[in-house]
């Protein structure tokens, strides 16, 4: 046996699995797939943590959660005690515990990963604490006169707003849609992230004094110049909202949509409910194009709406950008994968509705700029894939709405906002972070960016003598 941390012997017990809803059952509902740890499982899993002195797990956390400390607190004093530590670093722990790609972050660096029964299930423990603790959000500092505007109520904006509010700043968040939460409410499906969980987190921010103005499109309803005039600083976390399409024939046929459209109709507008007013295409044979997390969300959503779903991706399984867990869940739910396959044309009937797709087979050639092997078309491999709905999930680019109305905003050729690692843009008082700055990434990276910008904004306000 090896000695770690305090020198006690190491238990080699295997990682505890999170209970999930059976695939056969869950494809018939939109309830959460992963059910979360029971108290018994949570304590058993927490006791697997070696409480390493150097806490390698923390280097994988974009918001710097003191992981071994909160786990130790969970063992000592339950969820309430753990929450005191967790909530100080993470503004949306119930969200992160569910949607963070922990296998590439904290859990990647866990010393138990290779030989000691697998990494501690840090994400599942985070969720357990967030779901089961009484609200013990850190106290708000003394009120300051300074005012900051936050554009967008997604993970970047909410995280920035929360840190500023705790420091006593008056924060107003502007949201274009009628509901706060950004991608957490319009994008990520109910079965991965229940909207009641998001609402609870947002209520927590409101309790910190954050003012959220929905139905406000910055660049249209309120102009950036007005915000820079009225507020001491502005943080833009407007996300990467503009969907990419394939650019092939037939893409404007009825029944072809972006993953954003399908997910917005189903998640934000609740189109999966029988009594919903907002309609949604309910194809019998749906083809989803793409293999990222959004493609998995779209495929699994279409499956729950009653479709047979085929996912088409031009590279092989090894290159699929989605989390392994999402790919596995999709497969368990009966999603078929047509890998090394690329659509070349979408066909429609006389009414203009989709009735099939022509695809070609691909082979992997030399690595391209992204380091992934470039797919090349296999000559003469064309084939017809019958389908009555196509969902395109090829990624998104930043929405140009703010840039168009505020040309002083510097953007890259890709449309992302130019800013330094703390989100400072060349325009004084203007900060940006999250997908609007990086292009489409993850919830937690956006939260990390919002947090760093909040820190930089506080530094600037202090320097200018605007806060005590």
């Amino acid at each position: 046996m090896q000695a770690y941390g305090g020198g006690e012997t190491v238990n080699k017990s295997a990682r505890n699995a999170v209970p999930v809803q059976e695939a056969a059952l869950r494809i018939g509902n939109f309830e959460e797939v992963a059910k979360g740890f029971t108290e018994e499982l949570a304590l058993a899993e927490a006791s697997r943590c070696l409480n390493c002195k150097n806490a390698p797990c923390m280097q994988g956390c974009p918001v710097g959660v003191r992981i071994p400390s909160f786990i130790a607190a969970l063992l000592e004093g339950g969820a309430d005690k753990a929450a005191g530590i967790l909530f100080a670093d993470n503004n949306l722990p119930a969200v992160c515990g569910r949607v963070c790609p922990q296998e590439n972050q904290c859990e990647k660096y866990c010393v138990r990963r290779e030989k000691l029964g697998g990494s501690v299930a840090i994400g599942a423990l985070e969720r357990y604490v967030a779901d089961n603790a009484a609200d013990v959000r850190p106290a708000v500092a003394e009120k300051q006169a300074a005012k900051v505007a936050v554009v967008g109520s997604g993970p970047a904006g909410l995280s920035c707003a929360a840190d500023l509010a705790r420091a006593g700043i008056q924060v107003t968040v502007f949201e274009a849609l009628h509901k706060a939460g950004g991608v957490l409410v319009y994008g990520i499906p109910e079965f991965r992230l229940p909207k009641s969980v998001v609402e609870k987190e947002i209520d927590g921010l409101r309790a910190l004094g954050v003012n959220i103005e929905c139905n406000t499109v910055v660049g249209k309803t309120v102009l950036m110049e007005e915000l820079l005039e009225e507020y001491d600083a502005v943080f833009v976390g407007s996300g990467a909202g503009l969907p990419l399409f394939l650019g092939i024939e037939g893409e404007t046929l009825c029944g072809v949509s972006s993953a954003n459209e399908l997910l917005t109709r189903v998640n934000l507008m609740k189109a999966y409910r029988e009594d919903a007013v907002t309609p949604v295409q309910r194809g019998r044979n749906v083809v989803v194009v793409g293999a990222g997390n959004v493609a998995m969300d779209a495929a699994r959503t279409a499956r729950r709406l009653g479709a047979e779903v085929t996912l088409v991706y031009r590279r092989s399984r090894a290159e699929m950008p989605a989390r392994a867990e999402e790919i596995d869940h999709a497969e368990e739910e009966g999603i078929k994968f047509e890998l090394l396959t690329n659509p070349v044309k979408i066909h429609g009937d006389e009414r203009g509705f989709v009735n099939g797709m022509t695809c070609v087979r691909m082979a992997l050639g030399e690595p391209d700029a992204s380091g992934r092997r470039r797919p090349v078309v296999v000559e003469g491999s064309e084939f017809f894939l019958p389908c009555d709905e196509v969902v395109v999930a090829l990624g998104t680019t930043p929405n140009p709405l703010i840039k168009d109305s505020f040309p002083a905003l510097e953007t890259t050729p890709k449309g992302t906002i130019v800013a330094d690692e703390n989100g400072r843009t060349p325009t004084e008082g203007l900060y940006a972070g999250g997908d609007a700055m990086t292009g489409a990434a993850t919830v937690i990276l956006a939260m990390g960016a919002g947090k760093r910008s909040a820190g930089a904004i506080l530094d600037e306000l202090r320097r200018k003598g605007k806060i005590k």
Binding site: A176, H178, V217, L242, S257, V277, T278, P279
Partner: protein, 279 residues
């Protein structure tokens, strides 16, 4: 006043109501040609409507609503004093006809609501436009008094000849052009088949034509792509790039097909609301 309160409602034609909504934040930057998205209630769908008038002083924005589907029927049941759940805007780009000198505004049915603020603005700029307003019958013709006041020449044409001339807007446009009227721009707004017919006609006479596309939308800010259409062989978003486009470049057949995407589901909804299916 309540947020998004309906301050007044007046019936302009059969099943066509004008709502003046209290929305100072929207009124502040609203301009002719832009649109808003509203929801009637917490369970409502997001539906776009063109801004047909606004007052920055009063903090109001007016929209014209024709009862055609679930949400518009729900709106028809709402009255002054009621409040909408959501009202966001101004979205899309404002109309820009500054490059043109002699403009013919063409409105079909409720499309009159979109050309009305334009007629008013052009009159204020000292270059009043000619206006052709088409309607199925005289009881469906809207803003006739206002057009008579703001237009240089106002022509009303009805399908059944119940007032003005009998025929379609295209008949009227052709008559004017043949008479020797020289327009350097036609701005046409109405049902898709009407805009298609107008564009086919003006293309023959080589008159630049601008149309306003009333595509289906969800978010209205460029996020979902539901409103996409093909213009000059390129895919464009009505919400972000429009709603106005060069009519001679728009693929109307595709737009017409896309406008019918949810027709069956829509009828099921109406059925639930009224116990009947309207066609």
């Amino acid at each position: 006043m309540k947020k998004y309160e309906i301050l007044s409602k007046r019936t302009l034609a059969e099943r066509v109501n004008e709502y003046v909504v209290y929305a100072p934040a929207v009124a502040r930057h609203a301009r002719a040609g832009q649109f808003v998205i509203l929801r009637t209630d917490e369970d409502g769908e997001r539906v776009p409507f063109t801004v047909c008038d606004y007052s920055r002083e009063e903090g109001t924005v007016s929209v014209l609503v024709q009862e055609v589907g679930y949400t518009t029927m729900k709106l028809a049941a709402m009255n002054a004093g009621d409040a909408l759940a959501d009202f966001v805007g101004p979205l899309g780009n404002p109309t820009d006809l500054s490059a043109y000198k002699r403009i013919l505004l063409v409105g079909g049915g409720i499309g009159g609501a979109v050309i009305y603020p334009q007629a008013k603005q052009l009159a204020a700029e000292g270059k009043p436009a000619d206006v052709v307003l088409g309607a199925r019958n005289v009881s469906l013709a809207i803003y006739t008094e206002e057009f008579a006041r703001f237009a240089d020449n106002f022509y009303l044409i009805t399908d059944d000849g119940s007032s003005g001339k009998k025929g379609f807007v295209t008949d009227m446009i052709e008559e004017l052009v043949k008479k020797g009227e020289k327009y350097d721009c036609v701005f046409a707004v109405g049902p898709l088949p009407m805009m298609k017919a107008v564009c086919a006609l003006t293309a023959r006479y080589d008159i630049p034509t601008v149309v306003s596309m009333n595509s289906l939308m969800v978010d209205g800010t460029g996020m979902c792509g539901c409103c996409r259409l093909t213009v000059g062989g390129k895919v464009r978003y009505a919400c972000a790039h429009g709603p106005e486009f060069d009519g001679h470049q728009v693929d109307f057949d595709e737009a017409i097909a896309r406008s019918r995407m949810y027709r069956e589901q829509e009828q099921a909804h109406i059925c639930r609301l009224t116990g009947e299916v309207r066609r």
